[in-house]
Amino acid sequence: MAEVSRKQAMKREFQFNECPLLSSEESAGILLDYSNRRLAPELAAIFEQHMEKCPACRGFAESQRALWNALDAFEAMPVSQDFDRRLWARIEREHQGSWWSRIWNRMTAGGTVVWRPAIPVAAVLLAAVGLWMHPAWVSVAGPDASVAKVGSIEAEQIETALEDMDMLRQMDAAEAVSPQRM
């Protein structure tokens, strides 16, 4: 379908400086692909027919080809001979590293932080800290005090649990919209 519309666009005749191929995004691909010799031969032939009548596109193609050749001057450097050795040394160090650094590294692998595995860990830690700070929550108290405390704790717990569920739902939705990995 896209190829058909490309063909139609190229078969039309345009006046100098009026060629829409020089302004739309789709045609930008055609012009660049042709100039950089990446356009399929059939499409290239059609574009060449179009260029015979379109000085704007002809001028663009010529200057883009000249630029393409000029860019070759930016040569790369050869890779250090000890690149692999250094990489394996880092991997080795990582294997010998602490358990928490390994967890952090796995969470941050791929360029983004993956929070999902941290949620249950954080929940357990929070619960432990809460129990440590408020030992009365688990101790046996008098009936009146117990009822009052349990009531407020339950309300807090339900509120926290609802907030956690909300947060997880939002994260799932966010992940569904933008996949973690391409």
Binding site: G29, A70, A73, F74, E75, A76, M77, D84, R181
Partner: protein
């Protein structure tokens, strides 16, 4: 997963593994084998993509030492992700997405040092820029050096995303879909980025054509 040594020749059995997995053409298949614990597959992936990744990063940050440091981070992240890897997209797209992410972060942090290496300057570990085998004359070398500097500066002056798109398109010969994947944008956005970037470059480098 057993760790391979830095010297492949000294490692018993690695060569057999390498021969066995060398026939695998698709990177994703190699990565799946890495997930299963095959270090030889990771070695092949490294061999296959080391230079393209470093060259991409060099043209992005314009400093060889920093480019290699970032490339190490890229491959380390790939290695760390092995257990959770799923071949949902082309391996190179994923690889260059990581590389682009690190390069853009580096540029935004402003930590990169501008490449000031001339043609005959050697980097720390004694390597020089790739030049043809035929020894050029002094004049040819000077012309090449001037052209190199002008193109380098013109690319450096591009906005970060345009620079990444041009480097991937021109030097890595990546398809629009792959560039879009690496830059986390649409294919038409990539075409638009490239069109604007080449327009700028054509005007800045018109005298070189």
């Amino acid at each position: 997963m057993s760790l391979p040594s830095a010297q492949p020749s000294s490692e018993t059995g690695v060569h057999e593994d390498v021969t066995a997995v060398a026939s695998l053409e698709r990177d994703a298949e190699l990565m799946l084998r890495v997930r299963e614990g095959c270090s030889a597959s990771f070695r092949i992936l490294l061999e296959r993509h080391r230079a393209p990744v470093i060259h991409f990063l060099y043209r992005m940050v314009q400093n060889q030492a920093i480019a290699e440091e970032l490339a190490q981070d890229v491959f380390l992240r790939v290695y760390r992700s092995r257990s959770t890897y799923e071949p949902t997209a082309k391996f190179t797209t994923w690889l260059f997405r990581i590389a682009t992410h690190l390069a853009l972060n580096r540029l935004r942090d402003g930590k990169h040092e501008k490449g000031q290496q001339s043609l005959d300057t050697e980097v720390a570990d004694g390597i020089a820029r790739q030049v043809p085998d035929k020894v050029p004359s002094v004049e040819q070398r000077m012309v090449r050096e001037v052209r190199f500097e002008e193109v380098r500066k013109a690319i450096e002056a591009l906005p970060e995303k345009q620079r990444a798109a041009v480097v991937m398109h021109k030097y890595q010969e990546m398809e629009y879909t792959q560039i879009a994947g690496a830059l986390s944008c649409s294919e038409s956005a990539v075409k638009s980025l490239l069109f604007r970037a080449y327009e700028t470059l054509r005007s800045r480098l018109a005298h070189l054509a």
